[in-house]
C-alpha cells in the first residue's frame, strides 16, 4: 500500500474504527487510544495489506485490541473492588446513542448493548451498525458462517429482551 492509499484508507475508515472501539469499550479515552493504535499498525503492516482489504484488516485489529483491553480490565478488577473498576471505566462523554438519529430508542439500545457479552456485541456492531458483509465478519472473528449467523440471530433476540426488561418496547 502506497502512502496515498494509506492516507485514503485512514480518512475513509477512521470514524468507523473509532465508533466500533467506542461501543465495544464504552470509554472515550480508551476508544481513541485503540483507534489510533489500529491506524498506526496499518501503517506498520502496509506492505502486507491491500487497499480493498484495509477495512476488514482495521476492524479485525481494532476488535483484537478491544478484546485485549477488556481482558486486562477483568484481570485488574479481580484484584480491585469491582465497583471501583466499573466506575473507573464509566464513560462520561457522549455515547453512540447521542450521535444517533434514533433518539430515545437509540439511548436505550446503547444501554442494552452494554448488557450483551463481548462476542454478541461484536457481531451486532459489525453486522447492524457497521453493516459489514457476513464473509468479512466471519473472517474478522474467525467463525464459520453458520455459527456467525446463529450468533447474530441470538444476539438480536438478547438485545430485544434486554430492552424489554429495561421497560422499553421497541
Amino acid at each position: 500500500m502506497e502512502n496515498a492509499a494509506f492516507e485514503k484508507a485512514v480518512l475513509e475508515h477512521k470514524d468507523r474504527v473509532h465508533a466500533y472501539a467506542r461501543m465495544m469499550l464504552k470509554n472515550a479515552a480508551e476508544a481513541q487510544d485503540v483507534a489510533q493504535e489500529a491506524l498506526v499498525r496499518l501503517w506498520t503492516h502496509r506492505a502486507k495489506v491491500d487497499v480493498e482489504g484495509s477495512r476488514a484488516w482495521l476492524l479485525r485489529t481494532t476488535h483484537n485490541l478491544c478484546i485485549d483491553r477488556i481482558r486486562k480490565r477483568k484481570v485488574r478488577a479481580e484484584v480491585a473492588d469491582p465497583d471501583d473498576a466499573l466506575r473507573a471505566h464509566a464513560d462520561s462523554g457522549p455515547g453512540p446513542a447521542q450521535l444517533s438519529a434514533a433518539g430515545d430508542l437509540g439511548r436505550s439500545i446503547e444501554k442494552a448493548l452494554k448488557k450483551l457479552s463481548e462476542q454478541d456485541r461484536a457481531v451486532v456492531l459489525m453486522r447492524e451498525v457497521q453493516q459489514m458483509p457476513y464473509d468479512e465478519i466471519a473472517d474478522v472473528l474467525g467463525l464459520p458462517m453458520g455459527t456467525l449467523k446463529a450468533r447474530l440471530h441470538r444476539a438480536r433476540e438478547r438485545l430485544r429482551q434486554a430492552l424489554i426488561r429495561s421497560g422499553v418496547t421497541p
Binding site: N3, F6, E7, V10, K14, D15, R16, V17, H18, A19, R22, A31, Q32, A35, Q36, L39, V40, W43, P96, A97, L99, S100, A101, A102, L105, G106, I109, V124, E128, V129, Q131, Y134, K149, L152, H153, R156, E157, L159, R160, Q161, L163, T169, P170
Partner: protein, 183 residues
C-alpha cells in the same frame, strides 16, 4: 409465551425466516408464504419480527463517532510525517545542532586568525535563519521524544519509573539540593 416455555416448531421456523429476512435475504415464495401466514396468526412472532426490524433500523442510524482532529494529527505524526522527516529523531537533530555549532566555532576561529570582512546584513540574516531552522528541528524532535516517552509511561512501559515523584527546581539558578532535601 415466557422465556422458559419451549418455542413451538412453527414459531421457531418463522423466527428463522424472520432473521433471514432481516439479513436482507430474498426468501423463496413458499418461505415468504410460511412467514407471512404465521405472523398473521401469531401475535408474539409478529411483535417480535416488527420489534427486531425497529431495533435494526435504530442500530443502522447510529452515526460514526468522529475521531478527534488532534488524535488524527497524532496518527499522521506517527506514520506519514515521521517518514517525511526521514528518520530525524532527537539524535539526528542533536547531531545536526552540534555540527552547526562546531562549524560556526571553526569559522569564528578562522576569522580570528585571518583578517575577515565584516558580515553583511544579508549574511547575518541568513545565519540567523539557519540557527532558527536547526533549533526548530531540534525542538520538534525533542517534542516528539517527549510525547513518545509520555505515551510509554501511560501505557505502563516503565511502571516503576512512573511511581517515582520527580520534583523540578522552581528556578534555574536555584541552590543545589542539600543532603536530605529529597529527590
Amino acid at each position: 409465551m415466557n422465556d422458559n416455555e419451549p418455542i413451538r416448531l412453527d414459531c421457531r421456523r418463522a423466527r428463522e425466516l424472520g432473521h433471514r429476512s432481516l439479513d436482507g435475504e430474498s426468501l423463496a415464495a413458499a418461505e415468504r408464504e410460511t412467514l407471512d401466514g404465521h405472523i398473521a396468526v401469531c401475535d408474539e412472532c409478529r411483535d417480535m419480527h416488527a420489534e427486531l426490524r425497529t431495533i435494526q433500523g435504530a442500530l443502522r442510524s447510529m452515526a460514526p463517532a468522529p475521531l478527534a482532529d488532534e488524535a488524527l494529527d497524532e496518527v499522521w505524526d506517527r506514520t506519514v510525517r515521521r517518514r517525511a522527516f526521514s528518520g530525524w529523531d532527537w539524535r539526528h537533530a542533536a547531531a545536526a545542532a552540534l555540527l552547526f555549532v562546531t562549524t560556526v566555532a571553526m569559522l569564528w576561529t578562522a576569522r580570528g586568525l585571518q583578517p575577515a570582512d565584516e558580515p553583511t546584513e544579508a549574511e547575518i540574516a541568513q545565519a540567523a535563519a539557519e540557527v532558527r531552522m536547526v533549533l526548530g528541528l531540534t525542538g520538534r524532535a525533542l517534542e516528539r521524544s517527549e510525547r513518545a516517552a509520555l505515551r510509554g509511561m501511560r501505557d505502563g512501559v516503565a511502571p516503576a519509573l512512573s511511581k517515582i515523584p520527580i520534583r523540578l527546581p522552581s528556578r534555574v539558578d536555584a541552590e543545589p539540593a542539600k543532603d536530605g532535601d529529597g529527590v
